[in-house]
């Protein structure tokens, strides 16, 4: 019955659906962003403190480990605590998008785009 205009019709409907979905998606994305900035203060605090503490904790752990291994107490702890502090600050800056991501050369570097599709 709808043999002739069937595929066309379907194609058209699909395109319409895709447009509607894209519109809906961008709308919901905007909504999510607003949610993030408004209700996310608490979450952000968690995230950033977690990033910073993570760096310091790993620094202390590594320093203690090297001290145990090489008997250089307390130098490993001192050096790695400072490194961990720096890494924590770096983590926080990365989380807030102020420093280039891991592995990319410059902020906003487009060099990896071809591989990223």
């Amino acid at each position: 019955m709808a043999e002739q205009n069937g595929p066309d019709d379907l194609e058209q409907r699909r395109r319409k659906l895709e447009d509607a979905l894209a519109a809906r998606q961008s709308a919901s994305n905007g909504e999510g962003g607003a949610q993030n900035t408004k209700g996310g203060g608490f979450g952000n605090a968690f995230k950033l403190s977690g990033e910073f503490i993570g760096g310091v904790v790993v620094g202390i752990g590594l320093g203690w480990f090297f001290d145990q291994l090489l008997g250089t107490t307390p130098w490993g702890l001192i050096v790695f605590l400072l490194l961990g502090f720096a890494a924590g600050v770096l983590n926080v800056l990365r989380a807030t998008g102020r420093v280039a991501e891991f592995g990319s050369a410059k902020p906003g570097n487009g060099g990896d785009d071809p591989q990223r599709k």
Binding site: Q35, F46, G54, L83, G84, L90, N91, A100, G103, R116
Partner: protein
């Protein structure tokens, strides 16, 4: 006990098992992990068992979950990263369903235990390291050397980058754990206000309306957090996997 907000996180042994001095008891945490896997598996299995071109509601939820994760992974790690889809999808479903199950009254929240989230994070970072070295050999180490840095400060930068890399599983696990823990404690404290206020007589009952409203509102918020944290976990997993697939741009 009713007003102790921490009590809900206590682990109790259901079936004590001890093998060679190791405590391998089946606890309430293990039970809810099994329940999480069973619920997620049963949902995905049942909703896709009679697949139709026109999906039923359950089937379209399952398809949405699939497409959501597939798009996320493709966007952040490229098509090469798609071989990690089963890992990322399982992690997302596990965390999401565990978070949701934790919201049911009297249920145990698996993701509020740091050892669980830390194990998940170590799985992710372990995969990144093993795959990175397998695929790129020592070239994987280029990840730690940002290009365009003067040679003098390279050792320092590399050391900082290595520590920063190693701190990833910690921040990944602490974030999920802290959010779930804080949310559940807040919920319990506000709910505790309702019972303790309403014990004070008519004025107390009137006053307990406010924390009751807060409890309802926070429960709604917790559903959002349950999804958001599972989403964040999956997004970060994708980002870390991207480093393993394409190190050193």
């Amino acid at each position: 006990m009713a007003t102790d907000p921490i009590h809900q996180f206590q682990i109790s042994k259901w079936i004590p098992i001890e093998v060679g001095g190791l405590d391998l008891s089946f606890t309430n945490a293990s039970a809810f992990m099994v329940a999480t896997v069973a619920a997620a598996g049963a949902f995905l299995f049942l909703s896709t068992s009679n697949r139709g071109l026109i999906p039923t509601r359950a089937q379209s939820v399952a398809e949405m979950a699939y497409e959501f994760i597939a798009n996320m992974l493709r966007d952040s790690a490229g098509t090469h990263g798609m071989k990690f889809f089963p890992l990322v999808f399982s992690l997302f479903m596990f965390v999401f369903v565990a978070n949701l199950l934790g919201l049911v009254p009297y249920f145990f929240t698996v993701t509020s235990q740091i050892i669980v989230t830390f194990a998940l994070a170590m799985l992710v970072i372990g995969t990144v390291i093993v795959y990175g070295f397998m695929k790129h050999g020592l070239g994987f180490l280029k990840l730690f050397v940002p290009s365009g840095v003067p040679a003098v400060v390279v050792p320092l930068v590399v050391a900082i980058e290595v520590v920063s890399f190693l701190s990833r599983p910690i921040s990944l696990s602490v974030r999920l754990f802290a959010n779930m823990l804080a949310g559940h404690i807040t919920l319990k404290v506000f709910a505790g206000f309702v019972t303790s206020l309403s014990a004070l007589g008519a004025l107390g009952v009137a006053g307990s309306i406010l924390p009751l409203i807060m409890t309802v509102a926070i429960t709604g918020l917790e559903f959002l957090v349950a999804f958001l944290q599972a989403y964040v976990f999956a997004v970060l997993t994708c980002m870390y996997l991207n480093d393993a697939v394409h190190p050193g741009h």
